[in-house]
């Protein structure tokens, strides 16, 4: 692939989802996809800013769109939450002339609409990448039973996220099946984990997470596979029955690349046993 993307790592890239961003980097470079981190970026507003002010939430995300526009390359976004916020801001800039005028003035730029927001799941699930992914596999994930957990932010609203199907998305499933894993169908693909209220309403989050995990266990899964930093944190930290692994960690395992053992130790439910003696 000859495309080069701008790259928006997001705040969790150096904290709660460090193993996600590290594994994204390894997988992208293994597939020959070039990325360049934005020279300057700020928080997208996450799940908090929009609760207090729509203008602030869109402004923070638009700051990053302004930076990406300067780089003249489509913006690749690994975190589902960041992807949702930046896509919402891009949508407002594209279709809401009043908000666009406001944001352009606040940020001192002129929106061209030439660059696009791209989630890493949508990139890696592209049909034309499948042969390259299959060719990189050193050790297929044969025998591993996985359920794919998409959560909310990558999925809804479909008009913003461009998801294949908001009730039954399959892009992660397709990637996992290509890696040789046994992908199990289940009911909670797009159920909510409690989101940012995990930090303030832990009891409720625990209830939601355990409802999801009940289904994953009943389906016979060895682990949940996700692409959302917040889902991973909530599900990993509120139960001790099953590991939840980032999809790029699974890819790195199949490719046998990266410092995987170090990533696994970052998990509260260490997934190391899944990958031993397979």
């Amino acid at each position: 692939m000859s495309e080069t993307f701008s790259y928006y790592p997001g705040c969790t890239s150096h904290s709660t989802a460090v193993e996600y961003i590290d594994s994204c980097g390894e997988v992208l470079s293994a597939l020959g996809i070039e990325t360049k981190e934005l020279p300057d970026w700020c928080c997208c507003g996450a799940a908090s800013a929009h609760n207090l002010s729509r203008t602030l939430a869109l402004g923070l995300s638009a700051f990053n769109i302004r930076e990406a526009q300067r780089e003249k390359a489509d913006l690749l976004i690994p975190c589902a939450g960041c992807y949702n916020n930046l896509s919402r801001a891009d949508n407002a800039l594209r279709h809401d002339p009043e908000m666009r005028a406001h944001l352009e003035k606040a940020l001192g730029f002129s929106y061209t609409g030439e660059i696009r927001m791209l989630s890493i799941v949508d990139l890696l699930a592209r049909e034309e990448l499948r042969p390259a992914i299959r060719a990189r596999i050193q050790k297929p994930l044969t025998g591993l039973k996985v359920v794919c957990y998409y959560g909310c932010m990558l999925v809804r609203p479909a008009g913003i996220t461009g998801i294949d199907d908001p009730e039954n998305p399959v892009r992660l499933d397709t990637i996992m099946a290509d890696l040789g894993a046994q992908v199990i169908d289940w009911s909670c693909k797009t159920d909510c984990c409690g989101g940012d209220l995990g930090m303030s309403h832990g009891k409720k989050t625990k209830e939601l997470v355990n409802g999801i995990v009940d289904y994953a266990v009943a389906a016979g899964a060895d682990c949940l596979v996700t692409s959302c930093a917040l889902c991973q944190m909530n599900v990993d930290s509120r139960q001790n029955r099953i590991p939840i692994v980032f999809f790029t960690e699974m890819m790195a395992e199949a490719f046998q690349i990266g410092n995987r053992k170090r990533w696994w130790k970052k998990h509260i439910n260490n997934p190391a046993h899944l990958f031993k003696d397979r």
């Binding site: 709660t16 928080c43 799940a47 402004g59 609203p157 409690g194 009891k203």
Partner: protein, 182 residues
């Protein structure tokens, strides 16, 4: 309660529809939103009732409701609404109006989290979990055993860095806060 629809005040409905861009007037109470809402047990009014209350102009009760702060914007409702209403942006409007009008929020903990979070971004441009969580929990004065255990686990795994990372153009970021009144 008897509702006289001829005397209904539709100014709230018009304003919310304009600000959120959502066709709240189309809600015909199928209750798909409430059937799928993961947070409904925490709501005082289920989402379908919130839509009806907006149509009827029941502003005071809405702004003082717990529902507006317990909605996590998962958009399960929006994905299933036969009338194409996304409830999360509607909730955003109600939340903003609650704060602007100085109504005491029904769930101070949720507001405290969002405030601590955005305040932190105002300082660093990016989120610094350690200072954000510390300030939030100190102000909230509700630290559970689970919170402490989780904090220790994350610290031991190097997932809560002690030093913050900053954006370069902090001046512009602070202008964005000022511009939005936060």
């Amino acid at each position: 309660m008897k509702v006289n629809l001829l005397k209904t005040d539709d100014s709230l409905l018009r304003r919310i529809m304009n600000e959120s861009g959502q066709p709240v007037n189309l809600c015909f109470q199928c209750r798909k939103c409430s059937a799928g809402c993961p947070m409904i047990d925490e709501f005082d009014f289920p989402p379908n009732m919130v839509m009806r209350m907006i149509q009827l102009g029941r502003r005071e009760e809405l702004l003082a409701s717990k529902a507006i702060w317990m909605c996590v914007s998962c958009e399960t409702c929006g994905a299933r609404c036969p009338n194409g209403i996304e409830i999360a942006p509607v909730m955003d409007c109600l939340r903003a109006e609650c704060l602007e009008e100085g109504v005491i929020p029904a769930d101070k903990t949720a507001v405290g989290l969002h405030t601590a979070f955005t305040d932190n971004v105002k300082v660093f441009g990016r989120l610094h979990e350690a200072t954000m969580l510390m300030l939030f929990k100190l102000r909230d004065k509700k630290i559970s055993k689970d919170d402490i255990e989780l904090g220790v686990k994350l610290l031991l795994r190097g997932k809560i860095p002690l030093l913050p990372r900053r954006s370069k153009d902090l001046q512009k970021i602070r202008e964005l806060f000022k511009d939005s009144g936060r």
